[in-house]
């Protein structure tokens, strides 16, 4: 009986002990807190989304520096625009859309000024280097409208509907472009594999 009485109870932490610490919360909860000026909540959103946004921008622009700028400007623009965000769309869709627009701006600027892209597409995951380079170079050779859809759906992992909302395209167009992008990638990889 004495031993049972001396067992330490789970420590109770007062509510104010959690002050300033971001608990596990949905994107929308964090976005609302960020919209009220909570920088820690916004930092949590940055941590959650920075890799996906950077991947998206990198595979669209094919440039490390441009992707970095797109994501940085996009996140700062999101911080400024959170006050007027009405939460009638998902935060995820909204933030991806901002970065995709920044990436499109880069592509348009390049088309206007014939700016060359002299940077190698980034390789930052652990997988056999030769096959990865093949796939990435085949992806880079796709036309932008097909590449964007393949990156949004297959690389970033957005659903068809969410990709349609992010890219401002009908869902049917996204589906057909994704099908054609995969087919072209398969053909390109098959051609490279053949002697």
């Amino acid at each position: 009986v004495q031993e049972a009485l001396t067992v330490a109870l789970p420590r109770f932490e007062a509510p104010w002990a959690y002050h300033g610490r971001v608990q596990i919360a949905s994107d929308e909860v964090l976005a609302k807190r960020a919209a009220d000026g909570d920088e820690l909540a916004f930092e949590e959103l940055v941590v959650r989304y920075q890799d996906r946004l950077y991947t998206l921008a990198l595979r669209i622009t094919l440039s490390d520096a441009d992707a970095y700028d797109c994501v940085q400007e996009g996140l700062v623009a999101a911080w400024r625009g959170l006050a007027s965000f009405r939460f009638d769309a998902r935060f995820s869709t909204w933030i991806h859309r901002i970065v995709v627009r920044k990436a499109y701006d880069v592509l348009e600027r390049r088309a206007r000024t014939a700016e060359p892209v002299d940077e190698v597409p980034a390789v930052s995951v652990d997988s056999p280097a030769d096959t990865r380079i093949d796939l990435l170079s085949a992806l880079a050779q796709l036309e932008p409208e097909f590449r964007v859809v393949a990156v949004a759906c297959d690389v970033v992992g957005l659903s068809m509907d969410e990709a349609a909302a992010v890219l401002d395209l009908p869902a049917g167009t996204v589906k057909s472009r994704l099908h054609r992008a995969r087919a072209r990638l398969a053909e390109a990889l098959q051609a490279e594999a053949a002697p």
């Binding site: 920075q50 700062v76 995951v125």
Partner: protein, 180 residues
């Protein structure tokens, strides 16, 4: 290209094309964010009171219109009675001189009065008001514009059926015929 090949391509893209953001990206973003002014969320307006407000405004308008219609009959009879009394006494005191100068209703008003049964009461308003004016100023040349006459005639045309409809609500109506 088969569906299996498509799935294989999708899986390879998911595994191999993902990139990690540079380490300094988060710090750079938060540096800029902290330099920005803190946003204040614009909360959406509460819209569930709006239909209730318009409904209340419409109800007020209907109530005001009904009140105005009920007051129309009693108000006109009271004023017209007073005006007629005053006009009669004035005409009697002036020996009929003022009576001759009192304005007769115009042709439009006369035509309307033939159709509307309650025309004399408002007619008395006009005549009473004009005669009151004549009491004050013997040299006054009264003139009723045609627009005023037509407006009054229209009002009478609209008011007569309404007065008949609201006659049971009229407190002064039928006072003389009431028998206990």
């Amino acid at each position: 290209v088969t569906d299996d090949r498509h799935e294989e391509i999708a899986a390879r893209l998911r595994e191999e094309a993902a990139a990690r953001a540079p380490e300094r990206l988060r710090a750079d973003v938060m540096l800029q964010v902290r330099a920005e002014p803190r946003p204040r969320r614009i909360r959406p307006r509460r819209t569930h009171w709006r239909p209730l407000g318009s409904l209340a405004a419409a109800a007020c308008l209907v109530a005001a219109a009904a009140f105005g219609v009920t007051q129309l009959g009693s108000g006109t009879s009271g004023v017209s009675g007073g005006g007629a009394t005053r006009a009669a006494s004035a005409s009697a005191g002036a020996g009929g001189a003022v009576e001759g100068r009192a304005i007769a209703p115009g042709p439009t008003l006369g035509a309307q009065s033939a159709r509307a049964p309650s025309l004399p009461s408002t007619h008395k308003i006009v005549r009473g008001a004009l005669n009151d004016r004549l009491d004050q100023d013997a040299t006054y040349e009264p003139y009723a514009p045609a627009l005023l006459q037509s407006t009054l005639a229209k009002r009478l045309t609209l008011a007569a059926p309404l007065r008949q409809a609201f006659a049971p609500l009229e407190p002064r109506q039928g006072r003389g015929t009431h028998t206990p």
